[in-house]
Amino acid sequence: MNKVLFFAHLRDAVGSEFLSLDASGKTVAELKADLAATYELPRMETVMTAINEEFASNDEVIGDGDEIAFIPPVSGG
């Protein structure tokens, strides 16, 4: 299983801070596309992804137990 975290406008769109689902074997891009379709997530092309708290590329494959986070453009500071 995987914990998938959402922040900022994505959290509002999903209606939850995180989802528990099985994404192992999928690439980041595949998971992104699945969730974007299910939850009608806006502007996913601008959203970065982290696996286990480190930025990951779209072609990286998700392993069982990995924590995934979708990172919209940041606005700290």
Binding site: F7, P42, A50, F55, P72, P73, S75, G76, G77
Partner: protein, 155 residues
């Protein structure tokens, strides 16, 4: 001592500065990021900052390592606030000490610019006529649609 922190409470500025005091230093620069009322003529009422805390701390640590490699003898401490912040509240404090002052100014500037690139922290602007998550650093693009929508107006 934790050099990189996400804080739900008001930041103790002096405490951040004290972390970088070192006998080798000839300068400490402190950057204090505060909540501005007017952005391009638009009046902010308050902000909500949210962080992916575990990753945000790691990314602040990464910025600190980058600085310590690039500016010899430097020491860095950063605290970023989360939660609701009102106008003039302190959102971030960056303290950098170095042997010589020029490095201290440069390294501190580098830290804030990197925060705006890689640290997973977001702010939600609340205006009189609505609210939106800010999506880029020019503060011209807000998600989901670039400006408050009709549906937001009653909030």
């Amino acid at each position: 001592m934790k050099m990189y922190e996400i804080s739900k409470e008001a930041i103790d500025i002096q405490a951040v500065i004290d972390k970088v005091v070192q006998r080798e230093a000839g300068a400490i620069t402190t950057f204090i990021g505060t909540v501005r009322e007017l952005t391009h003529g638009k009046k902010t009422l308050f902000l909500i900052y949210e962080a992916y805390e575990a990753m945000a701390v790691k990314k602040l640590e990464q910025i600190g390592s980058e600085i310590e490699q690039r500016w010899e003898g430097s020491c860095v401490a950063i605290t970023h606030r989360v939660g609701r912040l009102d106008i003039t509240d302190v959102a971030v404090v960056i303290a950098v000490s170095t042997p010589h002052r020029a490095d201290s100014y440069e390294a501190n500037r580098y830290a804030i610019e990197r925060i705006k690139e890689i640290v997973p922290i977001w702010k939600k602007e609340h205006w009189e006529e609505g609210e939106a998550w800010m999506g880029n650093q020019l503060e011209t693009v807000a998600y989901p649609s670039g400006k408050p929508e009709a549906g937001d107006l009653d909030e």
